[in-house]
Amino acid sequence: MSVSTKILEEVVIKFAGDSGDGMQLTGSQFTNNTALIGNDLSTFPDFPAEIRAPQGTVPGVSGYQLHFSSKRIFTPGDNCDVLVAMNAAALKVNLKSLKQGGIIIANIEGFDSKNLRLANYPEGVNPLEDGSLNGYELYKVDVTKMTREALKEIQMGVKEKDRAKNMFVLGFVYWLYNRDLNSTIAFLNDKFGKKKDILDSNLKALQAGYNYGDTVEAFTARYIVEKAKLPAGSYRSITGNVACTYGLIAAAQKSGLPLFLGSYPITPASDILHELARYKNFGIRTFQAEDEIAAITSAIGASYGGSLGVTTTSGPGMALKAEAMGLAVMLEIPLIIINIQRGGPSTGLPTKTEQSDLLQAYYGRNGECPMPIISASMPSDCFDAVYEAARISVQHMTPVIFLSDGYIANGAEPWRYPQEADLAPIEVSFQAARAETDPKFMPYKRDEKLARPWAIPGTAGLEHRIGGLEKEDITGNISYEAENHEHMVKTRQAKVDMIANYIPLQTLDSGPDSGDILVLGWGSTYGAIKSAVLDLQAQGKSVAHAHLRYLRPFPRNLGEMLAKYKKVLIPEINNGQLVKIIRDQFMIDAIPYNKIKGVPITRTELVNVISELL
């Protein structure tokens, strides 16, 4: 039987298995390889909160979805073309998202009676054998047996050998999509170079999987997805959290400020701490604090001393930091608070995505306590958005909240990375030393942006006291005076509002500048909204898309823009938050579309929602 090679425009593949099966690694390796051949891509890792949930069960399933294409894509895909199922539970969880006629690659051993029972299949039912998968292209592969066979000459226990199963699968999928193995071979050498047995077993399993595709005659076709026509330039693959890390480092470099991160580990934000901790040669100080409160207050201490102070967290940690954010607002010093949102309330859904902390970011503090809020829309956009958050923070002397979420934090895409020289400089200066004969230093005297001076300890003549008590205007002394308090509340608000004069006007992502519907989004819904709106525009529908990076203050022209459409639809992965703020500020009857299932909104469902409104 000859094997033909077919060219496809796009593929959505999902690697799914038990959380101990190494599916995240397999997925990310395939992603790197895909990026290197120049496909456009978007990924969606989806894993349980437990490190090792009960083996073989439905809650223990870990998945990694990858969408790759020779054209531009913006989402990890609504449905899969290919499902790799390492066990029965993985099939059970993911079959509903597999397209009719799609390919299933099933690991036979994962469908033994024990695994079938753990996945809650009825006694005696095996989906691989009962014909229930007849509508799909099913390949049953004895991954475990063949992996053990390939590693028979290596002296290690069966349990250790079985850990290389994922490399067998990866090797096979590389064969299926006509790839070479070099990127993964290099990765394995890098990772296991010093542990020869583990390195050998992984390399051998990878090669065995590839060879299996070549020798077994079950597969009639291999596939090629050609290079995507992305804008010219140099690319790399990047996840949101890594992009966020780089954005912070770049902002520190371009502002000349030392970077200090105070952080307490929390899913899905910890990767930023891990990543920043690696770059001490950039002068970065990372401090794993004893709790969320110490994380933010240590960053406040560092900012006060003249560092670019940053704290990273997720929803529950934001709740704990609220009082300290108020202090930073009162002190009027720079601080970046990064919230990688996850499902809430309380501990909620730690590994699932949600956009449900917007109202918390807006209002979740005591007193009148306004802070700018910036959000990122795609993994690579985390770089630009956090860079902008840093610029606003140091130039306007204010804490800034940066909102990302689990979906874009862990998701990957190609990134046309910038050169240092391309990045806008971040100008910042400290208050200069004062001689005895100079006028008295006034710590709350403001510039044209209403920003006060950044007067750091160690500067002669600037000795002054600040704190959480209300300040007297200009002098910064404690003041309980009625008129002064009202003036200061209004001034702090005006300072944040005035940032609107220093950010770009809102632009449309696509569509007519007036018409039937404007779909207004923020954050990680970008890809789904963009794809859905482009589909409808191709059908001749009067639909436009605007996506907000600046959530507080809004761009100056937003109200004007919203007024030009008959309807404004706001899709969010929450119970309706931006929609409340938009209604409040612009008095328009914006329409919410909400999904609160811990997963992104899909293109298909948005196309349906928008169509119903047309």
Binding site: R236, I249, F260, G262, R285, Y417, Q419, P457, E463, R465
Partner: protein, 349 residues
Amino acid sequence: MSDVATLEPNQAAPALTAKDFVTDQEVRWCPGCGDYSILKQVQTILPQTGIPRENIVIISGIGCSSRFPYYMNTFGMHSIHGRATAVASGLKASRPDLSVWVVTGDGDGLSIGGNHTIHLLRRNFDINILLFNNQIYGLTKGQYSPTSEEHKITKSTPMGSIDHPFNPMALAMGADATFLARSMDRDPKHLQAMLLRSNAHKGASFLEIYQNCNIFNDGAFEIYTEKSSKPEEVIFLEHGLPLIFGTNKDKGIKLDGYKPEIVNLADGHSASDLWIHDEKDFFKAQILSRMFDNPAIAGHFPRPFGVFYETERSTYEDQMKMQIDEALAKKGKGDLNALLQGKETWVIE
């Protein structure tokens, strides 16, 4: 990236005096409060340290004691309840050149901020913690604190407190503090000496200061501060000297194994039989920290004042700096372009 610019002490500048550390703000503690004395002693000793005023930062939390920075003409931050130690940690980590002081109280430092206090101590930041212990909540008008004695009647404990109090010295000892000392508001000379010792110590210094709240807990430490009872109730620790106390200097502490006992020098015991204080002795410091008897109980030990323990351990900020230096030596100065590019790239024409 450069570290934040710091100024070298100006050697030519005239020597500072206590007055140079006074601010134009009206001091608003209650008349008669023990805080006045502590403020005065701090203002008195700072010129002796030779640290330029602009390099001194005093960070406080919330409570009566935490108003302290407003009255000190240095850099200062009156932060939020319990968090002064954490703010100070971030400042010191990023600015090791500064002289950082934390002013806190028994509520701020041991209750709402207890967590940060113990973590600062174990990390050993070179920060001086001044814990004003008045065994009461003053600013909130008289509730019991984590150092209040059992059965204390306060506004929130009309039938008496059922909380067992903290022993601050034992707590700090348990957190592996590298410098522990106790002093009192009403003994200016001793307090000045202890403040200077705290400042001289490289590493986290924990100085507990017994401070009288004359409004809500007046006389809490009277037995240790009044001339009539002080000689019998207080034992001043001095390195290398025997533990002797008493109006006639006729009593001492002797160690029977690990058990301290009070002996009368008139009964044939000589000074050479006594416990000789050794600030470097970790185990004896534990025993000292446990000499914490209720003075109402007959046969109780006198309360030790002075330096309980001092040891050397690398500070957090020095180790942090060493790791940065090591990374720089190994990898060279960070190259942003190389970072952004990463290892695996491709080009679209």
